[in-house]
């Protein structure tokens, strides 16, 4: 089965909006190589449950593909067309299981030493596609905030080493009530620029009081889901024939309802949260990993205007079977290690924010919770500097977006 043979009725199993979208652009898909199409279908098949920013991106990409002449399509996808595929891959059900196909394709490309060629083809396509479909301008400067070091009484080693060259270091922060001030700042932005999934609060522990205008995801809030997932995993790995790849496939197919989430919830957000736990590594056991990965995925997928991620202490490293057990009532916390994790996690959040449109105008703030240290990055902040300004975290949040 090759893309040129695609027919509309083959997408009967897709959710309604995804099916309609595919049918509208079927002609474009028919002229693309099999090494590319399932990767696109993997995104489109979940269209009904994607964030608005993702939907816009898919809409633009499909519209652009439909605008290509056959000659242009040949030119754009030359790199993909030159890759070889196995007959097994060609014969697999890549229409209804595109994610599975992409997993198998990845293994095949590694095995046949074609991965570098695939990377190159994907990079070339991505660059051309972004040039052809520029994103809409954003209404306000994007703001990222990371709050790190919860519960750490003192820490002597230098912080923000990766970010200091990009912003100003503040050692005179007034820490009192700092988290509330930051959440107030995020709420004010949500009121000024209301849009679904545009203002996020991610907490690696128990979330603080916050505005209902914010999209909130927290490690503690997902505790019942994590527990259900770990029970599910324990059951699965006892089954004959189960291996790491089979387990991964199983996890990828889990839905919110499989893990006890209410059917009355926000299906887009619930699916996002399940993916955080089923597709990532470490998010199930370490709250710092959860916070970093959640921020990464929220930025990549929802492209929020504002994102505040607060890191909380994670449990100490223990044997994997203990980490995977759902009994964490007496879990020992690693405060200093969590601060180091969060410092790097904050850096990664900034990198991920800088991948989004408007990066040159975006702003970023990291605050050592309860302490007087922060790093502020913004268009008006001189990079690689030290500021003697005394300010509270809320004032710094205002400063970086000024």
């Amino acid at each position: 089965m090759l893309p040129r043979d695609l027919k509309a009725e083959q997408f009967a199993g897709y959710p309604p909006q995804a099916r309609a979208l595919i049918v509208a652009h079927l002609g474009a898909l028919q002229q693309l190589p099999l090494t590319f199409v399932p990767s696109l279908l993997r995104e489109v098949i979940d269209y009904d449950y994607k964030f608005p920013a993702e939907r816009k991106s898919i809409d633009r990409e499909l519209a652009n593909l439909s605008s290509l002449s056959p000659q242009q399509a040949n030119d754009w996808f030359q790199g993909f067309s030159q890759l070889s595929l196995s007959p097994e891959l060609e014969q697999s059900d890549w229409i209804n299981q595109p994610a599975r196909f992409v997993e198998l394709l990845s293994a095949y490309l590694w095995t046949t030493q074609q991965l570098d060629s695939f990377r190159k083809a994907a990079t070339v396509y991505g660059d051309r596609s972004r040039s052809a479909t520029p994103p809409d301008p954003i209404p306000v400067r994007r703001l990222g905030i990371a709050v790190i070091g919860q519960g750490v009484a003192s820490y002597d080693a230098p912080l923000f080493r990766n970010l200091r060259p990009h912003g100003a270091y503040f050692a005179g922060v007034r820490p009192e009530n700092g988290l509330s001030l930051l959440l107030n700042a995020v709420e004010a932005r949500a009121k000024a620029h209301p849009a679904p999934y545009s203002h996020w609060y991610i907490d690696g522990g128990q979330p603080a009081d916050h505005s209902p205008l914010l999209t909130c995801v927290s490690y503690e809030g997902l505790e019942p889901v994590r527990a259900a997932l770990l029970r599910n995993i324990q059951t699965q790995i006892q089954k004959p024939g189960m291996g790491p790849e089979e387990l991964r496939t199983h996890l990828a197919a889990l839905l919110p309802s499989d893990l006890g989430m209410s059917k009355a919830g926000d299906e887009v957000l619930d699916r996002f949260q399940v993916r955080l736990l089923t597709e990532a590594s470490g998010t199930q056991i370490f709250s710092t990993t959860f916070a970093q990965w959640t921020a990464r995925e929220a930025l990549r997928r929802a492209q929020p205007l504002t994102l505040l991620v607060r890191f909380a202490p994670r449990q100490r490293q223990r044997p994997m079977n203990e980490l995977l057990s759902s009994d964490h009532t007496n879990a020992d916390l690693d405060l200093a290690g969590s601060l180091v994790d969060a410092d790097m996690g904050a850096y990664y959040s900034w990198i991920n924010q800088q991948r989004l449109p408007g990066a040159e105008q975006s702003a970023f703030l990291v605050w050592f919770e309860g302490h007087n240290q922060a790093i502020a990055i913004g268009p008006s902040i001189p990079p690689g500097t030290v500021s003697t300004t005394v300010a509270d975290p809320g004032e710094l949040a205002a400063l970086v977006v000024a």
Partner: protein, 382 residues
């Protein structure tokens, strides 16, 4: 030159420049024509070779860079000044730990399933060594980190294969067998494969039987358990077993695969850095132990190399240090150091080489012919 090759060259050069500044090492290309070393003083029949794979891959940011030097003080101050250091070692194969280690051991980029307990597809260095030099089973050993490595000792290649390879000891499997079912004192030493943290494979195939603890390692179960209680990580356990093997069996070819650093897959940066520091310490302690063992002192060549690197921070397809999935230059470009008998000290070589070059180099140094290896002999070492 492709962009990836340019990045690889830059990585190699930056390691070289860093080492020249940090450790005062010479750049090797100028020394290539000089008379080769002290190899003649090492009688080939007594020669010992030890290979350590450096723990699951670490990046330059956390090791060979100004900001990473604090994590590898022992490599920088003690081992590298004694070493020939190769700053640009490329791995062009599959970046999974079992398949990459198998590739290192065969000199061929293996394509086996990283997560299956299958033997390498091509003859291993252990098979070449034992067949060509008529060495007994006891002369080649592998100390491997996780249950998934239990088939690493020998291939299923026709005319080599079963019975021709190395014995494999899996310290965690050994400890698991020794500890009582209810004990939790040793659980911290029993972490398995970090690449698939949600799934620990059950052991299948040949294994190091518990009774051999006493027969070969000359350790009672109680003594083993008592010592294990003093250790803090799986790699410390592996090093303990390796040293015991050296004392009791004196293998001429010993291969130790470390993996504590691969905790990075759990996404906790502090644990990753802690593991690098531990691995750095363990390598230095191990070399001191080698030099203190009568059978090894003065006639041992030690190779230390990661099987590959880890993803760079800037590749959008990865998540930085956490994984090695993108195939970017940072994840494919790594380093190797060789020290001890027959190796020039304090020299950095920055020409590109491949990780599969190790096996033919070992063959040239030890006197066997790895006929199916696809790597090239490292001329600076032979």
């Amino acid at each position: 030159m492709t962009a990836a090759q340019q990045i690889a060259n830059t990585l190699g050069r930056s390691r070289r420049d860093f080492l020249r500044d940090a450790a005062g090492l010479a750049v090797g290309s100028a020394l290539l024509s000089a008379s080769p070393l002290v190899r003649g003083a090492v009688a080939r029949k007594k020669r010992k070779t030890i290979v350590i794979t450096f723990g699951g891959g670490a990046r330059d940011q956390e090791t060979f860079s100004p900001e990473g030097r604090e994590n590898i003080p022992n490599l920088l101050k003690e081992l590298i000044p004694q070493s020939s250091f190769f700053s640009q070692v490329m791995n062009q194969g599959i970046l999974g730990h079992y398949v990459a280690t198998a590739s290192l051991a065969t000199g061929v980029y293996e394509t086996l399933n990283n997560f299956s307990a299958v033997p390498p597809q091509h003859p291993t260095v252990f098979e070449y060594f034992r067949r060509d030099l008529h060495r007994p089973l006891s002369d080649a050993w592998v100390v491997a980190p996780s249950n998934g490595f239990n088939r690493i000792g020998e291939s299923d290649y026709r005319s080599f294969g079963p019975g021709m390879g190395a014995r494999v000891v899996l310290p965690k499997h050994l400890l698991g067998a020794a500890m009582s079912a209810t004990s939790t004192d040793y659980d911290h030493l029993l972490r398995d494969n970090y690449e698939t943290p949600l799934y620990a494979p059950q052991l299948a195939g040949g294994e190091f039987e518990l009774q051999q603890l006493e027969m070969i390692l000359k350790l009672s179960v109680d003594d083993f358990k008592a010592h294990a209680r003093t250790l803090s990580s799986p790699d410390e356990l592996s090093m303990f077993i390796a040293r015991r093997l050296m004392q009791q069996e004196s293998p001429s070819l010993l291969w130790i695969t470390m993996h504590d650093i691969d905790i990075a897959h759990a996404g906790a940066y502090s644990l990753y850095v802690d593991a690098i520091r531990r691995t750095d310490r363990l390598c230095a302690e191990f070399w001191k132990a080698v030099e203190s063992e009568p059978e090894y002192a003065g006639n041992t060549t030690l190779f230390i190399l990661p099987d590959f690197g880890r993803d760079g921070d800037q590749d959008a397809g990865g998540n930085g240090f956490q994984h090695h999935r993108t195939g970017d230059a940072a994840s494919r470009t790594t380093w190797m150091m060789a020290l001890g008998a027959g190796v020039r000290q304090g020299v950095v070589y920055d020409r590109p080489m491949q990780s599969i070059d190790l096996v033919p180099t070992l063959g040239a140094m030890m006197g066997f012919t790895p006929s199916l290896s696809q790597g090239k002999t490292i001329r600076e070492l032979v």
